[in-house]
Symmetry: C2
Subunit: 221 residues, 2 copies
């Protein structure tokens, strides 16, 4: 027998929908445990590089966490158009069945959502993980790749929020889902990339100033 | 009497549509004349800075041209949802009535299109013009802002082309309009930002390497 989906708008057609097996708490606990593990491992790894500042090490943890989120969670979403038909309590399908209560455009396969998630998973996921190594190894493109990924994340957030507004903001089951999932779960990706982008922008400007002073001195000698 | 619009898909509803007054040739001549003028003025302006390389000066012309295109053409589109009802041969409305023959999502006010055009007009337009000055005045954020705008342009192109594909690529009046408008008119914004982004990325890496060598020397002395 067909089960009715809980998503808004109510006339959204989702054939073969199978409800969540896990509660929101179960899902959060698993996600938090995975995130804490990735942060801890990155913290230990970064400790092997004594020249890194504490801020660098904290930012490496963020890149590991966000990179794995992009690559695994958003990668699964991008390539699983029928996640809502999943008949087992497979964690990644559970995440998106639950999240769609806050934004049904995910289940509805809205083209802007699939595009932004695809770019985030395929390009920004691996680039975030590369940023972890670029910081550890103090590569010359260290701040450039951080800035690039931050700008991509911010562009993605803009597309996400502006298309929602243009479409009439009608995709949340309840105000609670709207604020907790749509606003709450996404706002870290507005705030943190803004802070890291500003930091990397300043670091690049400092390096360029130093390099150009050095070049001038070289000419004067 | 209502005039039928020429756009595809044929069931697209556009009340009060008024056909083009200018031919595609008229439109191209005006756009080309405006572009050549902006390039010439930028070339003359850049000539006042003798330290600039010829490549820098050419790239300044590109930033002036693309910045004005973003700001004026795409700015008009973003804030003119009823451009297809324009009853005079107003140039900016003519551009978008014509371009919609290659991509009717413009006339249809597709949310992803409006979002990308809005970001491009409001953020990337002014930032492109700032890049002209940043190069002229050799600011420390010269290459950073160029890279940032290029990445924004590339992200916009990705959203533009991927959403089109996901929506079934059904928005061109004819294969000619598809290739000339949808592919042809957009591909410069894939190719040129890729080249400039790579150049600025390398310039930043060089500066960071020089600055870090200088810092090490300072410590050794």
């Amino acid at each position: 027998m067909a089960v009715e989906h809980p998503y808004v708008p109510r006339d959204l057609e989702l054939h073969g929908y199978v409800p969540n097996f896990l509660s929101i708490l179960d899902i959060l606990v698993v996600y938090a445990a995975g995130s804490v593990l990735s942060v801890l491992l990155t913290w230990v790894f970064s400790g092997r590089y004594p020249k890194l500042s504490k801020t660098d090490r904290i930012i490496m943890c963020w890149w590991a966490f966000t990179g794995l989120t992009h690559f695994i969670l958003e990668g699964y979403y991008t390539f699983s158009p029928r996640f809502y038909q999943e008949k087992t309590p497979f964690f990644l399908a559970e995440v998106w069945k639950e999240y769609s209560k806050g934004d049904s455009r995910y289940a509805a396969r809205d083209p802007a959502i699939v595009t932004v998630e695809g770019i985030t998973a395929v390009l920004e996921g691996p680039a975030s993980l590369l940023a972890v190594l670029a910081i550890a190894w103090n590569k010359p493109y260290n701040h450039t790749i951080q800035l690039a990924v931050c700008l991509g994340q911010l562009y993605g957030c803009l597309v996400y929020f502006i298309t929602a507004h243009l479409q009439g903001d009608n995709f949340s089951m309840s105000p609670w889902h709207f604020w907790a999932y749509y606003i709450g779960a996404n706002s870290p990706w507005l705030v943190i990339p803004t802070l890291i982008a500003a930091r990397s922008w300043r670091a690049i400007s400092r390096a360029v100033s130093t390099a150009s002073t050095t070049a001038k001195k070289g000419k004067t000698l």
